[in-house]
Amino acid sequence: MNDKHLRTPLKNVRGLGPARSGTHHFTVQRITAVALVPLALWFVWFALSLIHLDYAGAHALAARPLNAVLLVAFVLSVFWHAQLGLQVVIEDYVHRPGLEIVSQLAVKFLCVLGALACVLAVVRIALGS
């Protein structure tokens, strides 16, 4: 550590790296990935259950509190994980600075909108409106 600096080495390391956020992206990508292993398997079961149900049955299945909670958890994890993954794809392949910022923002906004739309839909289903 330089004598003229009072910052600890940890303080200097934090926020470094090309993304200026250290390992945060990596960590959250892994956390959402771990969450999605059971949630995705559960969602496949949910989607398969919808096949033989009519509208009322499908609505009732999604409205069950446990299913509604798991749907919200699945949706939030999916859009969060998708945004993190697409961010890396754009960082790798889009090299024009202006276009990169626009596409990064577009992906972030679309993912948030998708998540909000899904959560609102599940809330409407669960509350029966």
């Binding site: 398969l48 509208y55 749907l71 993954g85 998708g114 899904c118 609102l120 839909a121 599940v122």
Partner: protein, 131 residues
């Protein structure tokens, strides 16, 4: 032009295809496909909230030949991304890197993805047959 004779960095056209790169490329491709598939997730939940007509519309498009093809593609994408994702999580612990293991787990992810897809669609066809 002396520059033309310089060796170039090898790229996809030069390398012999091997499971290590195939699984990596497929992981990213499947991830992008799944991100696109979230449109259907939004449509499904929004239509379920909106009412029987909207839900029937989504059912109609999902049951169309194009819809079934997309659903089949998304099933495989999910199966592969899930299996290869588990492989990535295993590798995050530091395990699975010896070349033999790495190649084997790559093949497990590729072959397993087709097995899982077949299982899911067997369920689909069975349910439809029973309905």
């Amino acid at each position: 032009m002396p520059q033309a004779a310089r060796p170039k960095s090898p790229h996809l056209q030069i390398y012999r295809w091997q499971i290590q790169m195939v699984s990596s490329i497929l992981h990213r491709a499947a991830g992008i496909a799944l991100a696109a598939g979230t449109v259907l997730l939004v449509c499904l939940l929004a239509s379920l909230a909106a009412g029987p007509e909207a839900y029937a519309n989504v059912q109609h498009y999902a049951a169309s030949p194009l819809g079934q093809l997309l659903l089949l593609g998304w099933t495989w994408s999910l199966a592969f991304h899930l299996l290869n994702g588990l492989r990535h999580l295993l590798e995050d612990t530091g395990a699975g890197f010896p070349i033999k293991t790495f190649v084997m787990t790559g093949w497990i992810a590729v072959i397993g993805s087709f097995v899982l897809t077949a299982l899911v669609w067997a369920c689909v066809l069975l349910q439809r047959g029973g309905a």
